[in-house]
C-alpha cells in the first residue's frame, strides 16, 4: 500500500470531527450529571467557551521543560490512539493510518499520555500533583491488565492483531459482533473501560474534593487548554477502539456517532450512580473481580476457537 498525501488531510478532518464529537459529548455528559442532581447545569456548548478562554489567557508560567512537555505528551497519546484506529470501516480515507498489528501500538499509546503527564505534573512540584500521579499510575496499571486481556482475547478470537480485520470479521449483523459471540470478553473490556475513563467510581485521580484536581493542579491557561483538547479526543479515540473491537465497528459517521455515544454513556451512567472508590479499593476491585473474570474469558475464548 503506497502512501497518499491526501490521507493526511483526511486524517486531520477526521480528527477535527472526533474532536467536536468529544467536546459535545463532554458538554452533554455534564448536563446529564446536572440533571441527575436536579440542576440545569452548564450549557452544552460551555466546553468550547472554556477552551477558547483558556487558550486566550494572557499570562502563563512554566516550571521547566517536562512541565511543557507533559500536556504535549498527553495530547500525543490521544491523537496517536485515534490516528491508528480505523474510524470508518471500509472507507479509504477515514480508515486513518491503521495497519496490520496496530492493536499493539494502540495499547502502547493508551499508556503513553499517562506517563508523559506523570513526568510533567511531577515537575510542577505541587504535592497534590504527586499524590494524583501515584494514585493515577497505580489505578491505570490495575485497569490496564483486564484491558490488555480483553484485547488479547479479541486477538486470539480473530487470529489477528489488526483492528481493521477484526471489524471485517464482525460485519453482517449484530450476531457477528464480539459482544454477542464472546459476551464474557466484552464484559471484561467494559469493566476495564470504566477504569480508564477517569469517571466515578474510578475518578480518585482527579478527586476535586480531596486532592484538588490531582495531576493538573499546576496546569493553567494554554497548558490546560491542551489538556482539555485531549480530554475531548482521547476518550473518543478509546471509545472508537472499543466500538471496533467489540461492537462491530461503523461503516459511516452516523453509526459511529450513535455507537460511540451509547458506549460512552455506559461510563457516564455508572459514574452518576456509583460513588467514588478509594484508590486501594479500586485497585483491589480490579485484581479481585476484573482480573479473574478476564482470565476465565481468555480461557473460554481459547476453547471457543478450537
Amino acid at each position: 500500500m503506497g502512501f497518499e498525501p491526501i490521507k493526511i488531510l483526511y486524517s486531520l478532518l477526521s480528527l477535527f470531527i472526533i474532536f467536536n464529537i468529544g467536546m459535545l459529548i463532554n458538554g452533554i455528559t455534564r448536563k446529564i450529571g446536572a440533571r441527575v442532581g436536579r440542576r440545569h447545569g452548564i450549557r452544552f456548548y460551555q466546553p468550547y467557551i472554556d477552551l477558547v478562554k483558556n487558550y486566550a489567557l494572557r499570562s502563563n508560567i512554566t516550571h521547566g521543560i517536562m512541565f511543557y512537555l507533559g500536556p504535549v505528551f498527553r495530547l500525543t497519546g490521544g491523537i496517536g490512539v485515534y490516528l491508528f484506529v480505523p474510524a470508518i470501516y471500509g472507507s479509504e480515507y477515514f480508515g486513518n493510518f491503521s495497519f496490520a498489528g496496530d492493536l499493539v501500538l494502540i495499547t502502547y499509546f493508551i499508556f503513553f499520555g499517562t506517563l508523559g503527564m506523570a513526568l510533567g505534573a511531577g515537575e510542577g512540584g505541587h504535592p497534590y500533583s504527586a499524590i494524583g500521579i501515584s494514585r493515577g499510575l497505580a489505578q491505570v496499571t490495575a485497569a490496564e491488565i483486564p484491558l490488555v486481556i480483553a484485547f488479547l482475547g479479541a486477538a486470539i478470537q480473530y487470529q489477528s492483531l489488526s483492528v481493521t480485520e477484526m471489524v471485517a470479521l464482525q460485519q453482517g449483523g449484530i450476531q457477528n459482533w464480539t459482544m454477542v459471540t464472546n459476551p464474557l470478553l466484552t464484559a471484561v473490556a467494559l469493566i476495564a473501560y470504566l477504569g480508564t475513563m477517569m469517571r466515578s467510581p474510578f475518578d480518585i485521580v482527579l478527586a476535586p474534593q480531596e486532592i484538588p484536581i490531582g495531576p493538573p493542579t499546576e496546569y493553567h491557561s494554554t497548558f490546560l487548554g491542551v489538556l482539555q483538547t485531549n480530554r475531548a479526543i482521547f476518550p473518543m479515540a478509546k471509545t472508537v477502539l472499543f466500538m471496533n473491537v467489540f461492537f462491530g465497528g461503523a461503516t459511516n459517521w452516523g453509526v459511529l456517532i450513535l455507537k460511540v455515544f451509547l458506549i460512552y454513556m455506559w461510563s457516564v451512567f455508572v459514574g452518576v450512580v456509583f460513588p467514588r472508590f478509594r484508590v486501594d479499593h479500586s485497585i483491589r476491585w480490579f485484581y479481585k473481580y476484573a482480573l479473574p473474570l478476564g482470565l476465565v474469558a481468555l480461557a473460554a475464548t481459547s476453547l471457543l476457537i478450537k
Partner: protein, 213 residues
C-alpha cells in the same frame, strides 16, 4: 515558615548528599508582574465574550460571606447555567471572591492566591466589610478597604448579600468584562509598588517574595 527559610543555604539530604537550595529561585519566580496589552479590537471583544461567559471562581472562602457562595452550586440557584464554575486551584481560576471581612492573616493568603492566578483575573468583593470594614470597621485585625490591597472589579453590597445578589453581581461583572473594563491585572501591575507598600504596612510578618507567581 519564617523569612529565614527563604535564604540560600546548603542542605544535607536523607542519603547524606549535600545540595544547594535557593528557595527564591527554586520555588518562586521573582519577576515583577507585567502589563499585558489587549489584542486588536475585534479579536479582543470575541475573547472578552469568552472570558465573560466562562468565569472560573477560586473555591476559597475568605470570610463569613463565602457561605452565600455555596447555594449557587445547588439546584435552587445553579450558577453553572451562566457559565460560572468553581475550580479548586488558583492556577486555573479567573475570579477571586472575597467573602466579607478580611483578617490580616487571611489577607496574606489572599494576596498569594491572587498572584498565582493567571490573567485576566477579576476580584469580586462581597459584603460591606470589603468596602469600609462594615461591622468590623474598628476591629484590631481586619482590613477596612480591600481596594487598597487588591484591584477590585466589582462590589456586591449587603451584610450578607443573598445568592440572588451574587448572581446579579456576576452578571454585572460579565458586562464589565465584555466592555473590556476588566483590566484589574494590568492595574495591579501598573501600581505594583503602591499596592505592595499598602500590603506591607498591614502584614508585619512578611515572609514571602514580593511577587509569588
Amino acid at each position: 515558615m519564617s523569612s529565614k527559610d527563604l535564604e540560600k543555604r546548603r542542605v544535607t539530604g536523607p542519603d547524606g548528599e549535600q545540595f544547594d537550595v535557593d528557595p527564591m529561585q527554586d520555588y518562586f519566580c521573582q519577576e515583577r508582574p507585567k502589563e499585558h496589552e489587549p489584542a486588536n479590537r475585534i479579536w479582543e471583544s470575541f475573547l472578552n465574550w469568552a472570558r465573560a461567559e466562562s468565569l472560573w471562581i477560586l473555591g476559597y472562602g475568605t470570610g463569613c460571606g463565602a457561605i452565600e457562595m455555596r447555594p449557587l452550586m445547588t439546584p435552587r440557584f445553579d450558577a453553572y447555567r451562566y457559565g460560572i464554575q468553581w475550580r479548586p486551584t488558583p492556577r486555573q481560576s479567573n475570579v477571586l471572591v472575597i467573602g466579607g471581612y478580611l483578617s490580616v492573616k487571611t489577607l496574606k493568603r489572599v494576596i498569594r492566591s491572587y498572584e498565582q492566578m493567571q490573567g485576566p483575573k477579576y476580584v469580586v468583593a462581597l459584603g460591606s466589610c470589603t468596602i469600609n470594614g462594615g461591622m468590623y470597621w474598628d476591629s484590631y485585625n481586619t482590613i477596612n478597604r480591600l481596594d487598597k490591597y487588591l484591584p477590585v472589579d466589582i462590589y456586591i453590597t449587603g451584610c450578607m448579600p443573598r445568592p440572588e445578589s451574587l448572581l446579579a453581581g456576576f452578571e454585572a461583572l460579565k458586562k464589565l468584562i465584555r466592555e473590556g473594563k476588566g483590566e484589574g491585572q494590568n492595574l495591579y501591575a501598573r501600581n505594583f509598588d503602591e499596592y505592595k507598600a499598602n500590603q506591607k504596612k498591614i502584614i508585619r510578618d512578611w515572609d514571602m517574595p514580593d511577587y509569588n507567581w
